[in-house]
Symmetry: C2
Subunit: 133 residues, 2 copies
Amino acid sequence: MISTKGRYGLRVMIDLAENEGGKPVPLKDIAERQAISKKYLEIIVKELVNAGFVIGTSGKGGGYKLSRDPRNYTAGEILEVLEGTLAPVACLRCGAESCKRESFCKTLPMWKEYAQMTHDFFYKKSLMDLAES
Amino acid sequence: MISTKGRYGLRVMIDLAENEGGKPVPLKDIAERQAISKKYLEIIVKELVNAGFVIGTSGKGGGYKLSRDPRNYTAGEILEVLEGTLAPVACLRCGAESCKRESFCKTLPMWKEYAQMTHDFFYKKSLMDLAES
DNA sequence: CTAAATACCTACTATGTCAATAGGAATTAG
DNA sequence: CTAATTCCTATTGACATAGTAGGTATTTAG
């Protein structure tokens, strides 16, 4: 289940895409438009900054803006940063310790197939697709 | 992320499908074959019994068996019972309180599309498909 | 130069879920 | 009667979620 972090983060990114145009957008405005606690968004936006997805500018007149064109983000990469992983099961997480049952597990192929499907789905959705819908 | 409950439960069901043939299968055997704590499996199997997926027989010579032909179970229904939902986001859970942003939410269509895809994927996999793979 | 607005930072917390474990009661076959 | 089994209730430690609190640093506008 995608948590609020991933969901809110996506909405922040969409909000930024819609309000592009020179001036940075203050988090206060985003929080009001999206009806999400600004304090909580701070945590989320920090991760987006760390990931290099958005650029923050301090001081009066400051705020956040996208670092790339909205067409060049995918929902997948945004969700992956905020959720930690898109893997549906623990054993397919990046860096998971290898499972002894791997070679004969009856369920692993299904999880792999689903993981692939999920990855494809979210990496084919651009931020632009979402913003203009 | 699918929890151990859903994953272990599926493996129990597959194990039962593979060991079909008259006599009920004791949980002890399943726990050993699957290398999962029997005590923990008790919790899981109880839910499978409540859902009507397996039938438990007490006493010596007792154990569990499937209530239907393995072809007539889907991975989807099994996971849904054990995980509570297959919905990828809280707002699409069965019985979720309606969201005010529903009519104009930019992300909802994507979540719906993904939920549908997930549902289709798991409801097209039968227990038989998994057991014989 | 000062005040206001903003990002940035560290810490804290309540609640709930996960992944079991513990100890036994009820049931049944041989 | 005994052994093997399901069935039942309760408890627990660790972790994640979804925030809140209170401040510091930075920058622009007047």
